[in-house]
């Protein structure tokens, strides 16, 4: 990377365009852009998801810090409306996985997963915050799961702070569901 970061030629993030994430921090040209290696490390450290799960997927940034995951062929850069699905929010103090990413890949997680009972699961899906002092794991973003048809299934992303689990399910994805015991 050039030392002359004040130059007009220094590449910056164009929020309207998909750009592939650099493989490693050393290859980073756009300031503040996450690298593929950092993204894989983050999922591994935070949720125990092995980097091998994401082999074959490419990662892209469009919008400030919005990282997309894609499993098809794309040119570089690609000026289209969307590729693959939104995956992760970077460029903020704590990176945040999208609910969709958690729904798609969360079953591979081995830590920072909070299993909810049927009543808690319904409240979570409805977007309600709830007291959960019994959680003794990390604070921050967790994957909330519940049991359906004999297996644990991710519902979405929760933010755990001060004995409370906050549902960060986006408004458009919230649902009032009956409690299934």
């Amino acid at each position: 990377m050039s030392d002359d970061t004040s130059s007009d030629d220094a590449p910056t993030n164009d929020g309207q365009r998909f750009d592939r994430l650099p493989a490693t921090p050393d290859e980073r040209e756009v300031e503040g852009r996450a690298s593929r290696a950092e993204v894989l490390d983050w999922w591994h450290e935070r949720f125990g998801i092995e980097p091998a799960i994401f082999e074959g997927y490419s990662f892209w940034e469009k919008g400030a810090g919005k990282v997309w995951i894609f499993n098809g062929e794309a040119t570089d850069p690609s000026e289209v409306e969307a590729i693959g699905m939104t995956f992760l929010r970077t460029r903020q103090e704590h990176w945040k996985p999208t609910g969709r990413a958690v729904s798609r890949f969360g079953r591979h997680a081995t830590k920072n997963v909070i299993e909810l009972d049927p009543r808690q699961a319904s409240r979570f899906a409805a977007g309600e915050d709830q007291d959960l002092p019994e959680w003794d794991g990390d604070w921050g973003y967790l994957i909330a799961t519940h049991e359906v048809a004999g297996e644990s299934v991710p519902i979405g992303v929760g933010l755990y702070l001060y004995d409370e689990l906050r549902s960060v399910v986006p408004k458009g994805s919230r649902a009032d569901l009956p409690v299934v015991e």
């Binding site: 062929e73 289209v80 969307a82 699905m85 048809a149």
Partner: protein, 321 residues
């Protein structure tokens, strides 16, 4: 005038046809096998006390007699997607395979795009295009909800679609589920019959010809193009095929659908169409108790990778296998 009157000369049992068109349709959901198997959906419905009926010709489709397809956990988890039974047929005719390059020319709101991605095991590339930016947000919402990672979403006029933003210059398969006069959806939305005009039929037929021609051009020799509408109007169905057969290098091929169908018609309102349009399939509401639909499968002309050009090879099976 009720536009359904026009089609009485085409159907074998007018009373049954009219009676079926007057009956409402149940809510139906399709299993998204990227996320769950039909057996798992069944188990989750049983557990939650959600009533469902199997659709005998497709094990991933469930009728929900109590309605509310979105009010249950399988929906929230992206295991199911609300999609009418007949709407699953063009995806079956298209028969996309993992790893292929597939174009969904008129994709929003994405029921068929997501079905295509599912059939591809989410591997390869499905390009979901729509000219309406507003409807693309519904498409994107659905694709994300169902966990699809192999879709590229574009916002172009399909009639002069450019592959320039893509990493390749031709498709293996294309689906043209064309904007149409939608008479076949009258069981869901009777208003379509009140709003129907012949001028609209003619206007939309012009668009349909342009989109289907572009789909043939953008698909590789030996590749497959599926054309579908939810209308009974021959102006929007056989006449569009007839036009494209005459203007582009392609042919209609025989194919199977797992429902009762009637062949395409070769005469309508003083016009005659290429004999091969009988290979297209008309789906009438009274035959299988579904909505109305039209579906045709085309092989793009020229030598495929195996050097085959003849229609027999295309009929043999597989077409773009």
């Amino acid at each position: 005038m009720n536009p359904l009157d026009r089609y009485e000369s085409l159907v074998d049992d007018v009373d049954a046809f009219r009676a079926a068109c007057d009956r409402p349709l149940p809510s139906v959901v399709r299993t998204n096998e990227i996320a769950a198997t039909p057996a798992r959906v069944r188990e989750a419905f049983d557990e939650a006390g959600v009533a469902y009926e199997a659709v005998d010709w497709h094990d991933g489709l469930f009728r929900l007699p109590d309605g509310n397809p979105g009010g249950n956990w399988p929906y929230v988890h992206g295991w199911t997607h609300g999609q009418e039974e007949v709407s699953a047929l063009p995806g079956l005719a298209l028969d996309p395979r993992p790893g292929e390059r597939v174009w969904d020319a008129c994709a929003a709101p994405g029921s068929k795009t997501t079905q295509i991605a599912d059939a591809m095991d989410d591997e390869g590339t499905v390009v979901a295009n729509d000219n309406n930016l507003g409807r693309l947000s519904a498409l994107r919402h659905n694709a994300e909800r169902l966990g699809i990672t192999n879709a590229v979403v574009t916002n172009q006029d399909a009639r002069n679609f450019s592959l320039k933003p893509l990493a390749f210059d031709e498709f293996d398969r294309a689906l043209v589920d064309a904007p149409c006069s939608c008479e076949g959806t009258c069981r869901k939305n009777p208003d379509v019959l009140d709003e129907w005009t012949l001028d609209h039929v003619h206007a939309v037929a012009g668009i349909q010809k342009g989109v289907l021609a572009r789909a043939v051009q953008a698909t590789r020799p030996g590749g497959v193009v599926v054309y579908s509408t939810c209308t009974f109007a021959p102006e929007e169905n056989e006449a569009v095929l007839d036009h494209v057969l005459a203007s582009e290098d392609c042919e209609l091929v025989k194919f199977d659908l797992p429902v009762e169908t009637d062949p395409g018609v070769t005469e309508w309102d003083g016009e005659t169409y290429d004999e091969s349009v009988t290979r297209a399939k008309r789906i009438y509401p009274h035959r299988n108790d579904t909505g109305g639909f039209f579906c045709a499968k085309l092989r793009v002309g020229g030598e495929d990778d195996d050097g085959r050009t003849d229609r027999a090879a295309a009929d043999d099976e597989g077409v773009a296998a």
